[in-house]
């Protein structure tokens, strides 16, 4: 078997050394009744690379590849072009097959990369400190709520209705068990989010208010007032971002007064991958909150010869030191995705990120202008970055999305898919446009949409 280096001769010699007659002598602790005597029934035997590859390719062939069709899905996962060199770097065995850098003398590669990553994320978010990654945006969102309860010693969180519904679900699921109280609702269908309504729900028991920016409908609003409102009541403002490319065009949450900024980093360097692994980003504006942060942190120090080096630090927050008192139970995080993000971000740089953002916005504007020409389609948003909500003059946007798929267009995410029960959202379709979208793609969407709406009428 191609992954098993021991030869039968080796096995014989080694059994002799350990004084066992056969391998099962080493499994004596397993209760007799539970011991399996042959390979597990019903599973196939070992197979060659070629056979496995054929099988996996057959499965892969049953999926519609985003890049093969006009493609407009977003809602927390965005399709951007990832430069070829990103994959070259993350396939380096020294990165790919390393563990968490517990032995810093031979893990400076991972550690320096994490230090650079933390700096990039902090700058992007307008924060002082970012951690070395969490699982994904949704769990980062929950960790932010949990941290806010630790910092404020309050246990009520107010969630914006326009927070990604999966994120609210995760927060509410966790809160069920931790005993935190969560207030939320589905978004209202209006051009601007109701920030006053949100502010008015903050009270003296509120640990934090959580708002998404751009929000689930693609809307963009100034959060400065909300930050004031939260701070006035002693609450923290948690801002969630699911499209980091947007922050190349719009103000950072930190600039507007967010205390904790979390988000999904997938859009930069990671790729779609059917939803995972993704990359949880987590940053705080005020360095004083560092010791309440979840997850790993990499810090600068010196070695015994006085050379600069990097180590994991402030580990007393973490489970392996603090056990039941840790700030989070997280151990394995998203290291390799952080590397992919950091490499892509390094390739972009300030200039590239801004240009990328501008190109996304430019194409989104073109898409909007074209789509509103389709009879029965109207735009909800006043403002948007690369994703926006259109209202369809027909019963169910969800059916439209399925019809579009049948016609070879992946036309967006229907709000009905995200909020199945909520009647008022069923006509809304979320459309994302990135630099990978061509004008032909936009035309295809508009044409097919028109045909479908016409047929339905």
């Amino acid at each position: 078997m191609r992954y098993l280096p021991l030869t039968d001769t080796d096995r014989g010699e080694m059994l002799a050394k350990v004084g066992a007659a056969n391998i099962d002598d080493l499994f004596v602790d397993v209760p007799e009744v539970a011991r399996l005597d042959g390979p597990i029934h019903g599973l196939p035997m070992h197979a060659s690379e070629m056979a496995v590859e054929r099988h996996m390719k057959r499965l892969a062939g049953k999926n519609t590849v985003a890049g093969d069709v006009p493609f407009f899905l977003g809602a927390g996962a965005y399709r951007h072009h990832v430069p070829a060199s990103v994959d070259t770097v993350i396939q380096r065995g020294e990165f790919l097959t390393a563990y968490t850098p517990y032995q810093p003398e031979i893990a400076q590669g991972t550690l320096q990369m994490l230090f650079e990553f933390q700096t990039q994320v902090a700058k992007l978010y307008g924060c002082a400190v970012a951690n070395a990654s969490l699982y994904d945006g949704s769990t980062a969102c929950w960790e932010a709520v949990a941290m806010a309860t630790r910092v404020t010693r309050r246990n009520r969180a107010v969630l914006s209705g326009a927070l990604h519904p999966h994120y609210s679900e995760v927060v509410k699921t966790m809160a069920q068990f931790t005993g935190d109280a969560i207030a939320d609702s589905a978004p209202a269908i209006q051009a601007e989010p109701d920030m006053d309504g949100l502010s008015s729900r903050i009270d003296d028991e509120t640990a934090c208010v959580v708002v998404q920016y751009p929000d689930i409908l693609g809307r963009i609003t100034d959060l400065t007032e909300l930050a004031h409102a939260a701070h006035e009541k002693g609450a923290l403002l948690v801002v969630v971002n699911t499209e980091p490319v947007a922050l190349g065009a719009i103000k950072s949450p930190g600039e507007m007064g967010a205390d904790i900024v979390v988000g999904e980093g997938q859009a930069i360097g990671v790729g779609l991958q059917f939803g995972g692994p993704y990359l949880g980003l987590f940053a705080v504006r005020d360095p004083k909150h560092v010791r309440q942060m979840p997850g790993r942190l990499c810090g600068e120090t010196l070695d015994a010869e006085g050379k600069r080096g990097f180590v994991l630090t402030l580990s007393t927050r973490e489970q392996h030191i603090r056990r039941e008192k840790a700030t989070s139970n997280i151990c394995t995080n998203s290291g390799l995705c952080a590397l992919a993000f950091s490499v892509h971000m390094t390739l972009l740089g300030e200039k590239g990120l801004r240009e990328l953002a501008a190109e996304n916005h430019r194409l989104a504007c073109i898409a909007v202008d074209r789509l509103v020409q389709v009879p029965g389609v109207s735009l909800l948003n006043n403002a948007f970055f690369n994703e926006f909500t259109i209202m369809l003059d027909c019963k169910s946007a969800r059916d439209v999305v399925r019809d579009l798929a049948d016609r070879g267009v992946l036309g967006g995410v229907s709000l009905g898919r995200l909020y199945p029960g909520v009647e008022r959202l069923q006509q809304a379709l979320l459309v994302a446009v990135t630099e990978t979208t061509t004008e032909d793609d936009i035309e295809a969407l508009a044409t097919e949409l028109e045909a479908i709406i016409k047929e339905a009428a």
Binding site: D87, Q273, L347
Partner: protein, 527 residues
């Protein structure tokens, strides 16, 4: 090729005085290359991508929130980028470089076919919210993987979405809490052995349980009688690692399970060490109610310098109804369904004959697809016969190491019989104040990654050596020789070890200083 040095060897190269001055003008030493931070070499106007210049006259519908200030990022061109990260990578140790016996982490070879399959556009370039008709292949992967996991563990159901082991623990414990709450039985305590991984108590605490210790026997196992004595109506669950973190099988697990169940509690099994027993024994046959499986350990998906992982949780019939959404299931007609909030109840009623009382959702989307494709590729490659061989070779390698070192080093449980996938030693009798850390750093100079140190906490100066099955005998023999030489030096009190490593990219790093005044992001040098 090189004869082992006798104990008492002294390094030829003295520690330089801590001035940071270097023996070359560049600080490089041939192929051991220094590398500045991107912020020290990049520029705001440099980029490694070619995008259209920004047209200032272009329409903007950003609601007046256009960024006006600089972000503060820097860019590098592609040549600089590739070189930067290549040079950094060369300061790292990985499985691809050599033996990486990091106990509890199962650093086995990461097959390259896994990487290739995960990159097929049909898996890599698919959006999680595409219409279900366009993602049948992805759902089949999840289902097939689920099928393997259930057959290998003998359990009833599996929750696929947890993102890593600790997330899986949380999933399992929440299932238990939900099940208990469903029967109106609010319990308060989770019992966890002192030897458990930190994530166990952290998880239990997170789910608002009080953590109490399970007593251990001198043989490093759960003390069955003491445990039984503690069980009662306040105990929600016991969390047991099997094989445990001392690398030993818990022979009484079946009886423990029975006792816990009799007391109305549940058994959570930490499956991080499943590699030792895959294909040899099924946790389901030992009465386990929930167990996470680290796909990034047993099933060979790469650790990537800290993640991503994937931690599906197999569940007993009692816990299955509470599992988090979404999950996938294939119905008799062969169609694979993605079951989200919306369809859960209907689906459960129709196909499982009951309502689902899912405790909720643990993550956006559907889990670590990129790891599923890799793990499935690995399982198909090994097959049922290969996976059994995996466990056998992993256990044989560990026992070989145990028996090759026990004459020299304190091996606390060596007398209690064979170990499983890990050999455990302690630093008893090291001379001159030397400890486990010094031996570990000596291993670095010898070209190995050290074993896990100071874990589990129950052994003084613990050294937990997990060779895995993908190591050759020659490699292990070389490790044993080097380890013996270092152990002899440590026992003899060779102080030169206190300054090891000598040859790594960095000498020992000052972790205290790092924590005292944390510098966690680059800041421009003061003028």
């Amino acid at each position: 090729m090189n004869a082992p040095n006798k104990s008492g060897w002294k390094p030829a190269m003295e520690v330089a005085d801590a001035t940071g001055e270097s023996v070359t003008t560049t600080g490089n030493r041939a192929l051991m290359l220094e590398e500045p931070l991107i912020f020290e070499i990049g520029h705001a106007e440099t980029t490694g991508v070619d995008l259209p210049e920004i047209d200032p006259a272009a329409p903007s519908r950003l609601g007046g929130l256009a960024r006006d200030e600089a972000i503060g990022l820097v860019g590098l061109t592609e040549p600089e980028t590739v070189r930067h990260y290549t040079r950094l990578s060369r300061q790292n140790y990985g499985i691809d470089l050599g033996f990486f016996p990091l106990g509890s982490c199962t650093m086995k070879h990461n097959p390259r076919l896994n990487e290739k399959m995960a990159r097929l556009p049909g898996f890599a370039d698919v959006h999680p919210l595409q219409p279900v008709s366009t993602i049948q292949g992805a759902l089949e992967v999840m289902n097939e993987l689920a099928h393997w996991l259930l057959d290998l563990t003998g359990m009833h159901s599996v929750a696929m979405s947890p993102k890593a082991g600790a997330h899986g623990e949380l999933c399992g414990i929440l299932c238990i809490r939900a099940a208990l709450e469903a029967r109106g039985d609010a319990r308060e305590v989770v019992l966890v052995p002192e030897s458990a991984h930190g994530t166990n108590p952290a998880t239990a605490a997170f789910a608002n349980y009080r953590v109490e210790n399970i007593p251990a026997t001198p043989q490093g196992r759960v003390d069955l009688e003491a445990l039984k004595a503690r069980l009662g109506p306040d105990v929600a669950a016991v969390m047991i690692t099997n094989p445990n973190t001392c690398g030993l099988f818990e022979p009484d697990l079946r009886e423990i399970s029975d006792a816990v169940h009799a007391a109305g509690g549940f058994v959570y099994c930490d499956g991080a060490n499943f590699n030792a027993i895959v294909g040899k024994v099924r946790p389901g046959d030992l009465g386990v109610d929930a167990m996470h499986i680290n796909l990034h350990k047993t099933f060979s998906t790469p650790h990537g310098g800290g993640g991503p992982g994937s931690g599906p949780v197999v569940l007993s019939e009692a816990l299955a109804p509470f599992m988090p959404l979404p999950y996938t299931a294939r119905t008799k007609d062969g169609v694979v369904h993605l079951i989200e909030e919306e369809q859960a109840d209907d689906f459960a009623r129709e196909h499982f004959g009951g309502e689902l009382s899912s405790f909720g959702r643990m993550t956006a989307f559907h889990g670590q697809m990129g790891m599923f494709t890799r793990a499935l590729t690995y399982m198909l490659s090994h097959g049922a016969d290969g996976l059994k061989q995996v466990a056998e070779d992993a256990v044989l390698n560990a026992n070989y190491i145990l028996r090759s070192l026990e004459d020299l080093l304190h091996a606390p449980y060596a007398d209690s019989g064979p170990c499983m996938h890990e050999a455990l030693f302690g630093d008893k009798d090291f001379g001159n104040g030397l400890s486990t850390l010094d031996l570990a750093k000596g291993l670095i100079d010898e070209g190995f990654h050290p074993m896990t140190v100071y874990f589990p906490l129950v052994v003084h100066g613990a050294m937990l050596v997990e060779p895995t099955e993908t190591e050759s005998k020659a490699s292990i023999d070389q490790f044993i020789t080097a380890f013996r030489s270092l152990a002899e030096r440590a026992l003899a009190g060779d102080e030169s070890l206190k300054q090891a490593p000598y040859f790594a990219p960095r000498r020992r790093l000052d972790e205290t200083a790092a924590a005292r005044k944390p510098k966690l992001a680059w800041t421009p040098p003061e003028e």
